[in-house]
Amino acid sequence: MVLVFQILYAAVMLVFLLLSAFIVFHILKYSYDKRAAFLMIVIFLAFTGLLFFSNIILFANLPLEEMLSYIL
């Protein structure tokens, strides 16, 4: 059961990663002002990286077995 949640979490994170990649791709490829594009990408990647990293750490520290035994 814990494995199912881990797989679900990985799937959700993959979707977020793909969306982030699409955002970076579109800004890099289609932006007409390269300086503004660079600034946008730096801001986006900094905060997204921070949120991703903290999210993974929080998920790793979740008491999944306890929570699932409480629910089930």
């Binding site: 289609y30 007409y32 929080l58 520290n61 929570m67």
Partner: protein, 192 residues
């Protein structure tokens, strides 16, 4: 024009100069962000209320669960905000010395680029509809082109009347240049 000298758009000729680059009016993106901020506000209100509703979870390992939910929500909101921004930023209308270019980003996987030279423009219409559009001064400018060419629509741009006047001015200048060139050619041929 010098403000745009570093900007590059596909399909521009070397002599072509960018006169104006337009995006949708700030109100358009602000109204989308308002809803997002409302959701974030409700969420943060919940963070303050939850210890009152669930005091038994305070100081327990379930704090990690709530932090995780908060973090995931913030991540989703952050990415959604940037998706809104990319959609706004990549919708561009460019007025150059030779043509007008319409670049529309529809979602992540559809991008449409169309252009119309001033010689092909038949009619330019401005539509400013409603109280807010009138007060803030933004609206649509529709450019009707000749033949089978697609019409171009500047959607929800600021100062639409100025844009219309600018297009009309450039069109007149090009017509005058064309007539001058024709006159010179006739004179040259007559001289020969």
């Amino acid at each position: 024009m010098d403000a745009f000298k570093d900007f590059k758009f596909q399909g521009m000729s070397p002599d072509e100069k960018i006169i104006k680059v337009l995006h949708r009016n700030w109100f358009d993106i602000a109204s989308q962000y308002f809803l997002v901020l409302l959701a974030v506000g409700v969420f943060f209100l919940g963070i303050y209320i939850y210890p009152l509703i669930f005091p038994q979870f305070e100081g327990t390992e379930y704090n990690v669960l709530f932090l995780f939910i908060q973090n995931t929500f913030l991540l989703a909101v952050w990415i959604y905000c940037f998706l809104i921004w990319v959609d706004y930023y990549l919708d561009i209308w460019v007025i150059t010395s030779e043509k007008i270019i319409n670049i529309e980003q529809k979602g992540l996987f559809l991008r449409r680029v169309s252009s119309a030279k001033y010689e092909k423009i038949q009619d330019v219409t401005v539509e400013v509809k409603g109280f807010l559009q009138t007060i803030i001064n933004f609206g649509d400018v529709r450019v009707q082109t000749a033949g089978e060419l697609e019409n171009i629509a500047f959607r929800r741009i600021s100062n639409p009347y100025e844009v219309k006047n600018l297009i009309a001015k450039i069109q007149k200048e090009k017509e005058a240049k064309g007539l001058d060139a024709l006159g010179d050619m006739i004179r040259e041929n007559a001289g020969n």
